[in-house]
């Protein structure tokens, strides 16, 4: 599978590294040229030597998406730090480039839900954290009565 990941922060870089070690082709875009350091952290070779590719560019630039190979991508991950950027580029990937699998990170639970209802595959870390916290709190025991 050829996977294009836009946004190389903690989340994007971790997903990229896992996918590459799973044997997929991985291409990453970030506006910060230094972000490649996250992909190489803990590795003994450079990201490119490991077989990954990295493009410097802003997410909304079609040229950067093309250069990074969006036209042949089987999967697209929108994981920049901006919900709005992610939601726009995910729709660009889905509607314009017809990428078969588009996954988008949205921190705002309300919009994650609405866009999921519109057919986007949204992942909401906030919502997941809320569920886990609620579960953890419910699992607590009452204090013994004195």
């Amino acid at each position: 599978m050829f996977i294009l990941i836009v946004g190389c922060g903690r989340v994007g870089s971790a997903v990229a590294k896992t996918m590459l070690s799973d044997g997929h082709d991985v291409s990453v875009i970030d506006e910060d040229p230094e972000a490649i350091a996250l992909l190489e952290k803990g590795q003994d070779r450079s990201w490119e030597e490991l077989g990954g590719s990295f493009t410097v560019g802003t997410a909304l630039e079609i040229d950067a998406l093309l250069e990074a190979g969006i036209e042949r991508a089987d999967a697209f991950v929108a994981s920049t730090h901006g919900d709005n950027t992610n939601l726009v580029i995910a729709q660009v990937a889905q509607l314009r480039f017809e990428v078969p699998k588009v996954v988008v990170r949205v921190l705002d639970p309300a919009r994650a839900k609405w866009y999921r209802d519109q057919g986007l595959s949204t992942i909401c870390p906030t919502h997941i954290a809320i569920e886990l916290l609620e579960e953890a709190v419910r699992g607590g025991d009452r204090r013994e009565a004195a």
């Binding site: 079609i62 709005n84 939601l87 309300a110 519109q118």
Partner: protein, 225 residues
């Protein structure tokens, strides 16, 4: 009408002031607290603090009863999405979005957001208007309605030069709506004569643009003759 303006920058604030003067009910949503405080001194309760990308902020500002949503923040992705949820989630019929970087215009189109206003684009059009060029100048494009208004310079050797409007033989679906001559303009009748050097404004179906242009330029003049 109730106008919801998202983004209290120069554009949003001045727009709000002008719309209030015209008697409209206006709410501006501004995310920057300092900026919000400045606007609040003048506009009072007509401004709310909050991130207009968030649905609850839009709902608190009354998007559900808004007659118009105007998305004029400095970020194109924000404007595009605010316009998208405004129309598709809240059913607001009139939407105007600002596009700061003309290269992002395609994203607005993809999301079905229109009309989109771009200051850069407007200035470019003004420059084109001032600098003579060949071919049609697009003054208005209504993609959905399949109509456009274009401006053409009438070439001396063109079929239209020296003809009455009704004799030019324009196809159905194209109409001359103005003739600009010597710095003034008028709405022609069928009997008005088009002169070389005139600028004509036409409303037409975009499919007819190429053939209609031929009536006013010499290159295609030989073909039409």
């Amino acid at each position: 009408m109730y106008m919801l303006i998202v983004g209290g920058g120069k554009v949003g604030w001045n727009l709000a002031r002008a719309l209030i003067e015209r008697g409209h009910e206006v709410t501006v949503v501004e995310s920057d607290r300092g900026r919000y405080a400045t606007i609040e001194e003048e506009l009072g309760h007509s401004v709310q603090a909050g991130d207009g990308s968030e649905l609850w902020v839009l709902e608190r500002a009354g998007i559900e009863r808004a007659d118009m949503v105007i998305a004029v923040t400095g970020d194109d992705e924000d404007n595009a999405l605010i316009a998208q949820v405004g129309r598709e989630k809240y059913g607001v019929e009139r939407i105007i979005a600002r596009c700061n970087n003309p290269r992002n215009f395609q994203h607005f189109e993809l999301l079905g957001v229109r009309p989109v206003v771009s200051a850069t684009d407007l200035i470019l059009r003004l420059i084109e208007h001032e600098v003579p060029k060949y071919g049609p100048l697009h003054l208005l494009d209504l993609h959905q309605e399949r109509l456009e208004i274009i401006e053409l310079d009438v070439d001396e050797a063109s079929p239209a030069a020296g003809s009455r409007v009704e004799d030019v033989g324009l196809p159905d679906g194209a109409l001359v709506i103005s003739i600009l001559r010597d710095g003034a303009g008028f709405v022609p009748t069928g009997e008005s004569v088009i002169e070389a050097g005139d600028e004509v404004l036409l409303v037409l179906d975009p499919n007819l643009e190429e053939s209609v242009t031929g009536y006013f330029t010499s290159a295609a003049g030989t073909r039409a003759a």
